[in-house]
Symmetry: none
Subunit: 208 residues, 4 copies
DNA sequence: AATGAATGAGGCTTCATTCAT
DNA sequence: GATGAATGAAGCCTCATTCAT
């Protein structure tokens, strides 16, 4: 889209073939990894999907591991960015909790295939492990920070250590996100239930 | 039987423990899969670990997929069996919840490597998917049943639908089980915290 | 069948399982070789068909080559024996030629699968080659001898050297035998046509 | 094209003749199949003969079966093409029969090894069977057509149905072609005898 | 920047064959 | 004789990767 912001550009967007090859390869890799898993994916699968020659892959990436690492970062960033919920009244705990729960579940469900692979490859590849840990931990720590602040301000009375509560809520949310991924129609109920339990664990009763 | 006809024989060969090859192969497969993941594991790795010839593998299993499927069933059974907690006073909700939480977290942490692979392969292999789903769902449904009974008997006032609570608690427990797997010293705290949150979600206050 | 010629024998013929294993293996080998060809046939195929254990094969035969050699002899003998046509008036050339042509075509068509393999393996295995050559040459030489006698007695005037005529008639017969094997209904016409051409090549006109 | 930019270059590598690898593989396959038969031939044999790496084989062919199928077509075409005998006076039956008999026997003898394999593999592989049948039937039908024309024009009085005569002559020719293959010195006599018998079956007397 | 051609390395699988019982 | 279990040897095939152009 940014491409057309330059009025002097003469080429009109022609199908995928004028996207730069590197980007096409990354998109293709994401698609194929999601479809066939890490191990079963071959370089040939990726280049076929990207409509690039096999050798063309090596112009941009040194190996399957490397393209995966690049992809891992992309997924982490997308996943974390999707959790910034702007336009929420920071003073309304219920609204904050509801909105961030909704965002988390939605983002997790959306990126589930790649997140699974991330976790998987984290067992093997140290670089991926670092990315995966950040992907996992950052939302939890952010949440824990928030809970600590609420507790300090006397606006919540968490049942357990804030970090433990944050982790627990993270666990729940993931569980429901997986459910949502296999049955998207359950999304609203999932958000409602998790929000309610989150609030309850904060010692905050249901809305009226 | 013939083996005992010669009392002076020091046991006819068979130094390789004396487990029959099939069992050795399954144990070896479990070890190797846990160590190197599914994709990176080769038949040669498994047979080397089992001290069996490469060809010997095919006497009992047709492929890596097949031995994994057999292993999947074994893991599911072990994991589910580990959650039967005998000798618990069924009338004491706190004790039941505490014991089953402890058992679940311990079992999950213990089998984590294979459970991860189970989930992973469930994406690809329909048979494994069935086993994985049972592994996942059975504890949750059992837990949901228990919650429903407590609610019906007026001994608990769950914050949300019993199935949702069960699922949420499952999610938490998994989260803490993973933590425990990487840092076993946190086990007691994990059990304590999850138990407390579980009870809280059941509307049951802290012990005295 | 010979088994029941001994009146003192008490065992009645019970299905294949009391045929001695060696014979069962040979029969099985013939069946399987005919069905799958030489190369594709495995020892396991043969023993399965014979309902004998894999190792049992080696009690009687040292290898696939060896059992094939034994089979080759059996086939050669059966094929040659089938060409003895008793009860034919040796003075009636037309009858002799007709009967032996019929017998040859029938025998060739019947044993075609194994004869093909014989020829095939003759390329590779010297023992088989000897058997194959005899199988091929004996009928031709016998036929040539007959033609020579007829010529000497002035009862025929062969168009070419008796051996060449015999060879030519052999070639025709094989061609029609193959046709017959794939379409048995053509047998009578084949015999009639070949007989007519055979007689013609002997300078003997059609029957009245 | 770039190759000629450096006039001093002594030809960029490519000592392996300069036939492209695919052609070399086909030639090699023909050689090796003829030498060792189908079953005994391995991919490694072929690639060694072609001076190509084992993996190189799979760039052009998916399997031994496939390269054989391609070869089958090549052999069929070569065999059939060798039977076009130009420069023959179509009005001289003796010349036509003699020339086509000679061509057939020569072509069959020359391609005997591969033709044998063709027949052999026709039992197993449907594609090969189709090629083999055409290889077999086309000369016979062409010959039958010719005989029918001669008969219609009153220039021949075949002893039997033209198709039967054609088939019979085919059978003879094959028989003598095989003989020729194992003893090339007999070629002329074979052609003479088969031609004589062919003409005789057409009811055409010997030359003068 | 891009690619067609080629290959080294490595895993999978089959199979004839042996051996202890 | 007969067999279940096991294995060495060998072939097939795939794939990441390189290289000349």
């Amino acid at each position: 889209m940014a491409r057309n912001q330059q009025p002097w550009a003469t080429r009109t967007a022609r199908d995928r073939s004028d996207a730069p090859a590197r980007g096409r390869l990354l998109d293709a890799a994401e698609t194929v990894f999601a479809r066939r898993g890490y191990g079963a994916t071959t370089i040939a699968d990726i280049t076929a999907e990207a409509e690039v020659s096999r050798a063309g892959f090596y112009v941009y990436f040194a190996s399957k591991e490397e393209i995966f690492r690049v992809l891992a970062v992309r997924v982490r960033d997308a996943f974390l960015a999707a959790q910034d919920v702007p336009g929420v009244d920071q003073d309304d705990v219920r609204e904050v909790v509801g909105a961030s729960t909704a965002a988390f579940i939605a983002a997790y469900a959306r990126h589930l295939p790649l997140l699974r692979l991330l976790e998987q490859q984290a067992q093997t590849d140290d670089d991926v492990r670092a990315v995966w840990q950040e992907t996992q931990e950052r939302p939890i720590h952010r949440s824990a920070r928030y809970i600590r602040r609420l507790a300090a301000e006397g606006r919540a009375a968490p049942v357990a250590d804030p970090l433990a509560v944050a982790r627990a809520v993270g666990g729940m949310s993931i569980q429901f996100a997986r459910l949502t991924a296999s049955d998207p129609s359950g999304y609203d109920a999932a958000v409602r239930d998790v929000t309610a339990m989150f609030l309850h664990l904060l010692g905050i009763g249901p809305d009226r």
